[in-house]
């Protein structure tokens, strides 16, 4: 009786996991393997290639556009990750102090952009920032003295893509911070104000330290997300002007689909892959540390 029931159990388990495992192997694990394998060949996008060893990687490290892409990707990460986290925290702190319907309404206004497709976001901002008729141009004119076609100006393009990205993705951070702020017991603040602590002291001594684990989580999630920047850039600047917004994933796209260099594109993809896995391992360590404390 025993062994049979055990076999039955295993069979049931196999039936239950089979659909997921099969899909996983085909559309997830195999592409990971294929990406690494192809990066050592001179394959075009479609079709086989010959083994060329590390040639693609050597080429990558001699490719000027690769360095440009790495630099721009990191520049974009620098412009978005920390500001997006701090702005999210600020907005969350404003929202938690409200109540009821007002709170719900305000949260919707801040969160709504996050739910929109990227193409809708870029269409809206291209209109808002349009050089001739954009509603934001008087603001830019007031600051700089002239109207600027922001996505065609090497100086303005990346900061503006970053601004649009922050507007688009900030709601996610707000949600995480709101839930973290709600978890801080109210008594802490009451005790602190009885002791005569100012608002700023309360923030520094209570809110900030208790919030740190979530802040670290938001920072790493942001870092991973923004390293994968492609959509907004492709839709708003196509990497220009003069490659000033060219990023890593766009290099993958160009080499594979524009120049039919499957092997080389895979090598660049591997670089991005490794970079993100390293950051994710760091994030995992942070989460684990958080789980223990």
């Amino acid at each position: 009786m025993r062994p049979k029931s055990k076999n039955n159990k295993t069979l049931t388990a196999i039936l239950l996991i089979a659909p997921f495992v099969l899909c996983y192997l085909v559309v997830f694990a195999y592409p990971v393997y294929k990406m690494f394998a192809m990066s050592f060949t001179d394959a075009p996008l479609i079709g086989e290639g010959d083994w060329v060893g590390l040639e693609n990687y050597v080429r990558m490290f001699q490719h000027k556009l690769f360095y440009t892409s790495v630099y721009n990707t990191l520049y974009f990460v620098g412009l978005t990750v920390v500001p997006n986290t701090l702005i999210g925290l600020g907005i969350a702190m404003m929202i938690v102090r409200l109540n009821g319907m007002v709170q719900a309404g305000i949260l919707i206004l801040f969160f709504m952009p996050y739910i929109l497709p990227v193409t809708v976001v870029t269409q809206i901002w291209q209109w808002v920032l349009d050089q001739q008729f954009g509603v934001a141009q008087p603001l830019i004119e007031a600051v700089t003295g002239k109207r600027i076609s922001v996505f065609r100006d090497p100086l303005w393009a990346m900061p503006m893509v970053a601004l649009v990205t922050i507007w688009w993705t900030n709601g996610f951070n707000v949600l995480l911070f709101i839930s973290a702020l709600r978890n801080i017991p109210q008594d802490y603040y009451e005790a602190a104000s009885l002791d005569g602590a100012s608002r700023f002291q309360q923030f520094r001594r209570i809110t900030w330290p208790l919030l740190w684990p979530v802040t670290a989580l938001v920072l790493t999630l942001q870092l991973i997300l923004q390293l994968k920047i492609f959509d907004q850039i492709y839709l708003m600047t196509q990497g220009g002007p003069f490659n000033s917004t060219y990023v890593l994933l766009q290099l993958v796209y160009r080499e594979a689909f524009g120049r039919n260099q499957g092997g080389y594109a895979s090598a660049v993809a591997v670089a991005l892959f490794v970079l993100i896995v390293i950051v994710s391992v760091l994030q995992y360590q942070l989460l684990k540390a958080r789980g223990k404390s």
């Binding site: 996991i17 206004l109 801040f110 808002v128 839930s179």
Partner: protein, 274 residues
């Protein structure tokens, strides 16, 4: 005390102004979309004097938007159904059944969190080409059905279902499949709802993959399709905004109806049990 009240009113005022400024581009997009094209560029009128829906009519009649809607709804619904089904079953097995390789599978799924799917687009495209699925619904759907975090969330929730319920069902002679679909699934409808909505929204909003795998205008999802309109007809902002509003409408409405579920799903998938 009076002082604190003033402070609160100041803060409230500031928050409201900030929120309105933040949402202004959304308001502006909607307002632009209901203006006649001639008024759009004639200075900045904040509220339209006459409402003109001709841009919407134009989008419906002159673009492929209906096709794109059908493609988006069809692929997003199918992705959601497949993701939920396969992840739920796998999560259940990981949670409730002891089988060889269970721990290994769990660790593999967990490790997959780190894999950036964007880096896989080249090899996934090659795979879809081999399958003859380029420019088809299957091509859009297949690479999007693996979302490891959904498996883990299901496992966690199934873990916390009381053991006694399971034992009782076993005594009644229920099979594992019956226990899953008649006991564990109904007990966790909330989670299924939350995960379904967020999966649907993510599938609807995905740009990069459908953009790569679809080559004809008729097969595009709406998220990709709306970028074609400007290219083909020159810049007409009322029309651009009308079509953008139409592309965003379904997910915006889904969010407004299921706000709490969306929030819950975001918390769950970022590792905060909410």
């Amino acid at each position: 005390m009076g002082n604190m009240k003033t402070g609160n009113i100041l803060l409230l005022t500031f928050t409201v102004i900030a929120a309105c400024a933040w949402a202004f581009p959304l308001y502006w997009a909607i307002v632009t979309s209901i203006k006649p094209e001639a008024d759009v560029v004639a200075g900045t009128i904040f509220l339209p004097e006459t409402i003109d829906i001709s841009s919407y009519v134009w989008a419906l009649l002159e673009t492929n938007i209906v096709r794109w809607y059908i493609n988006s709804i069809g692929t997003s619904v199918l992705i959601t159904v497949v993701v939920i089904m396969i992840s739920m079953m796998c999560g259940y097995a990981l949670s409730q059944i002891v089988f060889p390789g269970r721990r290994a599978l769990f660790l593999i799924v967990l490790a997959s969190f780190m894999v950036p799917s964007q880096a896989l687009v080249v090899s996934q495209f090659i795979l879809m080409h081999k399958f003859g699925m380029v420019d088809s619904w299957a091509g859009i759907i297949l690479p999007q059905v693996i979302i490891p975090v959904v498996v883990i969330v299901y496992k966690q929730f199934f873990d916390s279902v009381p053991r006694e319920l399971r034992e009782a069902a076993k005594l009644d002679g229920c099979s594992e499949f019956q226990i899953l679909f008649k006991l564990y699934l109904p007990l966790n409808w909330g989670i299924t709802a939350a995960l379904s909505i967020i999966t649907f929204i993510m599938a609807w909003n995905n740009f990069l993959w459908p953009f790569l795998v679809i080559t004809s205008e008729e097969m595009m999802t709406i998220t990709v399709g709306i970028t074609q309109v400007g290219d083909a007809f020159g810049v007409k902002y009322a029309r651009d905004m009308a079509i953008a509003v139409m592309a965003a409408m379904p997910v915006a409405i889904a969010y407004l109806i299921f706000q709490r579920r969306v929030t819950q799903a975001i918390m769950l998938s970022s590792g905060i049990k909410g």
